[in-house]
Amino acid sequence: MEINLYLSIMPEALIASMLSPQEFGKYFAVGTKKRTRGQAMFFKLKRDFKSDYLKLDDIEKRCVPDEDGTPKRSKYISIYRVLEHVPMQSIENLYLVTDDGRVLELKREEYTDNTNDALHLYQQLGPVRPLIASSLNPPDFCKTLTDTTQPVSVPKLVFVELILNGLANDPENAPLDNIPYQNIDHMRGCLINLQKKPSKPNKTVVRSTQNDILYRTCKNGFFIGDNETMFYYPMPTREKLEGEYYAWWKSALTQGFNY
């Protein structure tokens, strides 16, 4: 049975599995017998890279079918500082999993910004999870945050740009409708500050976000990058989500009490 390698972003981990990405996503979110659920997000990786840190040599020995022949669903290879040790060239498609196990596959594309928005809101997903208001566009934001010569930086970054609607260009007056973020008034303040003081490009809105990502708030897509390279995984259009990927989309919109 083929062994796949997955880079989980939430939580950060490297996992070997005999399941396909769709099967793995479903399993990862809802398990098999236990009544658990949880949003997940992972990249499929090529298995062509080597790493002293990640100890990939004995995966075949560790990831074996169960005694009854069923494929091994997950074998954790590493759970700490995984992201920084995975080379960008090994990263393939991104899979977004809803908390009840619906999986959406996103493919990589060239990033183009058609919006000309002055301000942006970035939810960092790994390795740390602050919510950042920024005047930088995604490539510049990625480059800045992964500049390891700077004291506040990470070697590699996964993030998503979130919708700001009218606030992106008029933070003082635009309505807050349909924006479900924490500390919304503080966020408006951050955006106003960014507009007034262009010298400071980033402001922290929330130090560390604990909640799941509301997929509907994704403005354009997901990003992963280091200081050299950035990959962009665009979300399908709303029309496509409501038509082609309806089951995933409806699941992504479902809301319970205890979030």
Binding site: Q182, Q255, G256
Partner: protein, 731 residues
Amino acid sequence: MINGIFWTVPIASIIALAFAGLFFKQMMKNSEGTDRMVTIAEHIRKGAMAYLKQQYKVVGIFFLIMTLLFSIMAYGFNLQNPWVPFAFLTGGFFSGLAGFFGMKTATYASARTANAAITSLNGALKIAFRSGAVMGLVVVGLGLLDISIWFVALNYFYPIEIGDGHNLVIITTTMLTFGMGASAQALFARVGGGIFTKAADVGGDLVGKVEAGIPEDDPRNPATIADNVGDNVGDVAGMGADLYESYCGSILATSALGAAAFMGNSDMQLKAVIAPMLIAAVGIILSILGIYLVKTREGATQKELLESLSHGINISSILVIIFSLGILYLVDIENMMGVWGAIIVGLATGTVIGKATEYYTSATYKPTQKIAKSTEFGAATVIISGLGTGMISTTIPVIAVVLGIILSFLFASGFDFNNMGLGLYGIGIAAVGMLSTLGITLATDAYGPIADNAGGNAEMSGLGEEVRKRTDALDSLGNTTAATGKGFAIGSAALTALALLASYIEELKIGLLRIGETVLEFSNGTNVNIATATLTDFMNYYEVNLMNPKVLVGMLVGSMMSFLFCGLTMNAVGRAASKMVEEVRRQFREIPGILEGESVPDYARCVEISTKGAQREMLLPASLAILVPIIVGLIMGVPAVIGLMVGALVSGFVLAVFMANSGGSWDNAKKYIEEGHLGGKGSRAHKAAIIGDTVGDPFKDTSGPSLNILIKLMSMVAIVMSGLTVAFSLL
């Protein structure tokens, strides 16, 4: 000799049933769609019928016991009209039959509506609405048929041309007792249906949406089918039985009041008795006309869809106003313009209550938007503002009913507050006017669950985006009509209960005569012949005034009953829902692959749990509603019973409006946020709104609507048991 024009009543009832049959046949000619759609529809149909079968078993036992009791009272102790056991049975039978036909049609129509939505919004609207019209027409058709049969049969045994008008009083008061059968059936349908639907909905959502995180109408949720079944048993069978009772109750109470008001003028007496039946008959024909006027264009907006339904109802109402004047002219009733004025008042009162309900529950208006705004501060403020808005929302309906009572009384009595007989007749006529277009207004109510189920079927069958958009549009329209329908049901129940309250005195008269009393002996030594005693004589004789502690005690008990009943039904939902939670959890735990969509859940088990829960839980509140008026009557007599009826009416009416509107506004506040306001889905505001909506579920779908029946059933029990009360009361 029955007036020739009377025969239009049974003819109208047969026309109603014929059109119901025609609409049913037309609906059945449409395809149910793909195999998957047929399977889902079959699951729901089977579940709904399994529920009805179980309910009819319980109700059957209850009816058997009550019929035996009435027979003993009637034939053993001469405390009861000998026709009561039969009238009770037919009332219950026809009410149950109306619910059965309505639900059968609804469960056949949902998949067909979804399938029609594949190609056309108008086609889907027509199927859903005309299937809803089957319910509306069956209710009015069976109601008038039952009334006609009894009127003709009793006329055979008590010929109206002899007896100096007394026979017509006997006929109308006897017919009134079949309302208790209808009320009892309605109570079981409404309370049982309400508990069923919310147990499935809340229980399914708590595990499905909250724990497992799966969306509504997802086939992986074992409670999904039970939830869809619940829409039918609660809002179709329950609402149908409820309004069947209001419809018949208002006509019969008005006829009884007419017979009493014109005692001694047998010609006018007969006219007053058949006038409400004729107005109802005209209403049937005009409702059918209105049903044919409901259509829309492809891609219609919500506003246009609502306008298309309103168009049918408005045209029917306007025509009822015009034609009822013609009917009254033909009948040549005394104070024709005054009685006509009472009809207009009734229709206007119904419209005002409907509009007020829409204002307080629709997210288009400020009250619901304010509740939505309060979600930003958490769940507690949502609950507080929903409760506050619900309480404030009682103002307009209460003022509408107050004005309706005063104006209809004044119009019919010729602006003479002392002319009690005609004034009360006017109030009854106002209730008849309000319910005259029931054929079409009930169609809009029953349409709601059909559209809702069609959406569920489209969802579970994985139909395309365009289809879902169409069924969503129809479903959203159904939510609006359901809220206004509930307001209408409450308003009509209040007026009907008031007419029943006045009719109670007529029943007392018959009860006293049956036990051999002939005169009312007053403490000042004066005597009044019972046969000719006025309503005021009876009120004086029984000392029905606010200084009489029996009246006050009765009022307090009546008020308490409304709250007790609400509390019991709400807790019943909580208990039944918890059983559903356990079952859904069990299935997720024990049936591997449900969440992955690889195995089919045991839907039938969830339907069974909801059914059993509903049957078990409805027994206590239902028994209390029947026993309390009997016990109060046996201990404290007539004044306390009248106090009880008044207490239950005033508190029940206001409480019902409050609960229905609070629940409706919480529901729509959540939908308002889901449309993208205040942070939209997933925001803190949304989470708070979900809690408000869940609290509001039993408010608007179980306890609130059940109060309509409580106030009518307690009045009916008091009426039927009046013989027992006058013969055996202790105090």
